[in-house]
Amino acid sequence: MLKYRHAFVVGLQSNLVYRWNFAARSLFSLFHLVFVFIFWGAIYAGKASIGGFGFTQTLTYFVVLFVLQFFIGAFNEDYLISEDIRNGLINQFLLKPINYFAYRLSVFASARVVSGALGFMALLVALPFFSGYLALPHDGWRIALGLPAMALTALIQFSIAYCFGMLAFWFLEIQGFVILSMAVETVLGGQFFPLDLLPPAVFHAVSYLPFYYQAYFPNAILTGRIGLGAAAHGLAIQALWAVILVCLAEAVWRRGLRHHTAAGG
């Protein structure tokens, strides 16, 4: 564990070098909240509720989504992994007693600590403008189930990014695949609109896909869009997806290594 702690600390330091980039990105991301406020405000004009939820509940959903993305979202991990493979930097990990998945997960965790803290600070700047529109439920069980759901979401997001990064073993350019997947993940993860606005049958089908657990699920627990039964049931499915994706990541790594040619001295 000590080596991964070192990787985490080094990752923390290297991410702090880019703190101004993260800070600028966080501040600019606030514009997205303004967009949400204006767009959904126009949709809700003259309506008490849409899909069973009021404007404050929907705005709260997007504010929590904003924070979650900075704390547990995989931003560019796929790109970093693919660069390791393309540039041959991966070779050093093959010669050392270190698990590449665990190493990258440690670096991912450190990056999210920095981006999460800066994203949270950016939100604090905007909070005086939004606080009157937020409606967070106060049930204790939502925190108790929301925190493990967030951890599993981070693992799912990272594992998917890891698998896409591994594509660099087979393809020279992977960004097309990454952004293709991002479009699907964004819409089926509930980042454009809360998934419960979908027709019930579609919503039910989507709840069995891993994308549902990438953003919507922990958010829905924390913001009161789903009840205790659905949250417990969802947590079990989410844990199953996390295990499947971690296993898939390991399998892709092993298959990829068979294709890999380490060159140079």
């Binding site: 880019y18 600028a24 990105r25 991301s29 405000g41 849409i50 097309g176």
Partner: protein, 265 residues
């Protein structure tokens, strides 16, 4: 006139190079065209979901909104097709010193940097975005006169110029900060506002997003030209915004260029 024909020849040479390169990597072209198509579909899906719960947003019906979003996409696809790659690479090139290559070329650095590559996938998908506009116009029973179409085309060109200017300014930050990675995201965040009807903006938001940042005008002005014909206020406002933003972009780029000290600037 001589300078214009020289720059046209340079641009044609770059376009020919981009075309040959795209044909060499046809698989890549296919994937990226699919990526763009998927993002368009995701946006259309969002509109479909929203309008399944309401009949109007800020007084705009579903097909009026599709026309607005199609227009916004058309502008963005033109920007992606003609300028995105060059401007995006500018940030990285400034950081690693490869921008020297641009400065050594026989032309204005901003022109050379931003027109180096054409992205065929963006241009291909502009056909899809145009199809969306035509579909929405037909559903609305619109039959715009040739003069309205010419006005629409001019306004689209102004919109592309404003988007171009905003992106140049965002990427010019790389002359000042360690890395501009993620800065392009701020551009996309701001451009989200171009998909909202002007009527949704009130008070301070109206002042900022309609008058100070012309993100709303770029799409609303051409869409209104198709929906309501020539409106002098919108047309003049868009022309003025284009001139101001382009002048600002050139100024910011040039003052950034003064800071450039070749490798590791």
């Amino acid at each position: 006139m001589e300078a214009f024909s020289r720059y046209l020849r340079i641009w044609l040479a770059s376009a020919r190079y981009s075309l040959v390169r795209a044909m060499m990597f046809r698989g890549d072209l296919f994937i990226w065209a699919l990526v763009e198509l998927l993002w368009i579909s995701v946006t259309v899906l969002t509109i479909a979901v929203v309008y399944s719960h309401t009949s109007t947003v800020a007084g705009w019906t579903k097909y009026e909104m599709l026309l607005l979003v199609g227009t916004s996409m058309l502008i963005q696809r033109f920007l992606m097709g003609f300028f995105w790659s060059g401007i995006y690479e500018m940030g990285r090139n400034v950081r690693n010193g490869a921008f020297d290559f641009v400065l050594a070329q026989p032309g204005d650095p901003l022109f050379m940097a931003s027109t180096r590559k054409l992205e065929l996938d963006g241009l291909l998908n502009s056909v899809v975005a145009a199809g969306l506009v035509v579909y929405a116009a037909r559903k609305l029973g619109l039959h715009p006169a040739p003069s309205d179409l010419a006005l629409y085309a001019c306004m689209l060109a102004c919109g592309v110029a404003i988007h171009y200017s905003a992106l140049v300014m965002a990427m010019s930050l790389s002359f000042w900060i360690t890395s501009s990675q993620g800065v392009e995201g701020s551009y996309f965040t701001l451009m989200e506002f171009s998909r909202i009807p002007r009527e949704a903006f009130r008070g301070f938001a109206s002042a900022v997003f309609v008058w100070v940042l012309p993100v709303v005008v770029v799409s609303n002005a051409p869409a209104r030209a198709i929906l309501h014909g020539f409106e002098p206020t919108w047309a003049l406002g868009l022309c003025a915004a284009t001139l101001v933003w382009f002048a600002l972009a050139v100024m910011v780029f040039r003052s950034g260029l003064k800071r450039y000290t070749s490798s590791s600037s």
